[in-house]
Symmetry: C2
Subunit: 406 residues, 2 copies
């Protein structure tokens, strides 16, 4: 008998038919003797519709109240699934964020879970209930409703799994696992059977949308085994677990491509101490997070400074940068939105050299120019022009031997 937390995403609960299908899977696990906690997202599209409604009410909807509004999406699916389970003669009970004891900080719209008191859920499970939890939501210490940001239901599920010491946290989604790269870009993408938290984290950060970043951080921190799998098939998906010896001995596990960044270059910035601070402090104060930064020294005590931000932050970042550039006497500012960041990720990089060289050669062989480079212990990222993105992904996928044999 296992304790399983199952999370179903928006496409898996898109309508009553789909929710009935979720009920089938939940019941199957329950009938095997497992204790089941189900965490649900809102029906696909609902969150976007609610945001559109809020924007009708106010151009910049108050964040606290937006959370109150958005929380109705998951409340709806949780109530509907519990109803369906009960109409099939199973004991079931819905739990909203405040009932599930999910306490967060006060950052409306992207709150962080501070603490979970799963006593209510634990009791329900002990009394034979299937617990159906509205994902994505919590309450702050004053009892105000908060939401955890896009994909937050993943984090709800992992956090509950950790609090209940569940045997597994199953993330049911519309893909059948984590792939070596986006199968829509590369025909030869392979499903990964097992991946480490570290690699998954890099992939999530770099735009693989299969898991919310925070959910992976949470899983890593509390060592929660996560199983990413399809809600439309019975096949095993991808296990996200601690690094272990039985993982495939590959150097590179996956290739990602992030089209969501934009680049800003300040030309002829004075090459003096403290200049970087003058540029990046106002950006930080505006809560704009800068991803990659590169500085090229020019002759004559001047330098070019290039950095990337997300497209959402681009307009604001440009405005702030232009103001700073003027103050610093920088000659002009160049901006480009049409960039892509391709990355190779793999635990194997820790012990293998030559990954960077292989990557640069592969891109060069297709005449793809690299604009910016950044690295971590298990990742190398290159910014290129967006038009080369798909070609770069396919080239790297082949170069690192990831192609599926067809």
């Amino acid at each position: 008998m296992a304790l399983r937390v199952q999370k179903y995403g928006g496409t898996s609960v898109a309508d009553i038919g789909h929710i009935n299908h979720v009920a089938d899977r939940v019941i199957k696990a329950h009938d095997q003797g497992d204790k089941v906690v189900v965490v649900l997202s809102a029906m696909s599209g609902v969150t976007d519709n609610l945001i559109a409604l809020a924007k009708q009410a106010s151009e910049t909807p108050d964040k606290r109240e937006l959370d109150v509004l958005l929380a109705t999406g998951e409340q709806t699916t949780a109530a509907l699934l519990a109803m369906i389970l009960k109409s099939r003669e199973y004991k079931a009970k819905s739990f909203l964020g405040f009932q599930a004891g999910i306490q967060t900080n006060k950052t409306s719209g992207k709150a962080r879970i501070l603490d979970i008191d799963c006593e209510n859920i634990r009791q329900a499970l002990e009394n034979g209930y299937i617990a159906v939890v509205a994902g994505f939501q919590g309450v702050d210490k004053d009892g105000a409703i908060t939401t955890l940001g896009r994909g937050g239901s993943d984090t709800s599920a992992v956090a509950i799994a950790s609090s209940l010491k569940a045997d597994v946290c199953e993330i049911f989604t519309d893909v059948d696992g984590v792939y070596t790269t986006d199968p829509r870009i590369c025909n030869y993408a392979r499903k990964i059977n097992k991946i480490s938290y570290e690699e998954m984290l890099e992939m999530a950060i770099l735009g693989a949308k299969v898991l919310q970043i925070r959910s992976v951080e949470f899983a890593k921190k509390y060592n929660v085994p996560v199983h990413v799998r399809s809600s439309f098939s019975e096949e095993e998906g991808t296990m996200v677990v601690n690094e272990s010896s039985d993982m495939e001995s590959v150097i590179v596990s996956g290739i990602t491509c992030d089209m969501n960044e934009a680049r800003i270059t300040l030309k002829k910035v004075p090459d003096q101490p403290g200049v970087s601070a003058k540029i990046f402090t106002p950006l930080a104060e505006a809560e704009i997070s800068v991803d990659m930064i590169i500085q090229n020294t020019r002759s004559g005590g001047e330098t070019d400074l290039t950095f990337t931000v997300t497209k959402d932050d681009f307009e604001r970042a440009k405005e702030i940068s232009e103001k700073v550039a003027k103050e610093l006497g920088a000659v002009h500012i160049l901006t480009a939105e049409e960039i892509a960041k391709v990355s190779v990720i793999g635990l194997g990089m820790k012990s293998h050299s030559g990954v960077a060289a292989t990557m640069f050669q592969a891109l060069a062989s297709e005449n793809i120019n690299i604009r910016l480079i950044s690295t971590s212990e298990i990742r190398i990222s290159c910014v290129i022009l967006a038009k080369y993105a798909e070609l770069a992904v396919r080239t790297l996928h082949t170069a690192f031997g990831l192609d599926q044999k067809k």
Copy 2:
């Protein structure tokens, strides 16, 4: 400076445009220096849509979970109004049932308010906030969401007004007050300026849908002045208050017509002690409430027993009655759905005789046959065939001198 609780019904918050209009009114009161608590219903039609969705999920949706689902309707409007108020630079905050401290019993779908702890709201008001409360919902002692039944937002508003000792509870609706009868039936119906709790209660019970019955009971019990008025005009509506000397000295205040009952007659029931109990006990056990009962003695130790139930309960009541009739050896059972109950209501009846006579004569003058009669201290009701309903209402309205001079 007054403390005002304002409740807006579904048609008053039907879309963002309407909610903006509500914001105008709320702001006007606030700018006058009043403290304002706003209680909202769901957008008109939303509750019905949610019920339809639930029926897709389950033929007989679990009541606990239906409440969780329905509560999203008021959560939505409360969040939207708070957003709009904030975008207009007013301090505002939404409160759901659990945040407003509205504690109810466990009767899902028609919970009763047991206690209100308005401390959160009171604090918000003191800090200059406009408090926006999701009506219709509360929580039971275990923290489960409950709803108060159709029109329950009226009761939320009155209960909050009573707890806060508000100066007035304004019920904004799509009509401009309480009328002597339904203006859709009678052209000469007049708006009543002031009516007693007792009369209002009888009118609500008898199908005047302007206020939920429980809200009037609550207002009467805690002496909350209620002002029923239009959200689409500035005119004064109807004050519902304690009986007082300055009320219009009329004998009859209003005429109601309830088409929502059905009649069941058991013919040739043995006229013995205990027979009534045998008929009405199983109905009570099935939670069917019987309204009017009449027993006509026939010759030969037999009697005819007629009673009315709501149309919703009719099929079940018929089934139970047929079973009992068989056991009792009653000859046959007659049922008729096409009845109407017309009633005249007035505090004046306490001290004036002859009201019944006037009523019966008026109906007789139009050849309308009376099938059943029931009375209370301030009400006389007659069951007639449904086809005469409108004629009866107009006739009685004239007979009791209620017609507006046009």
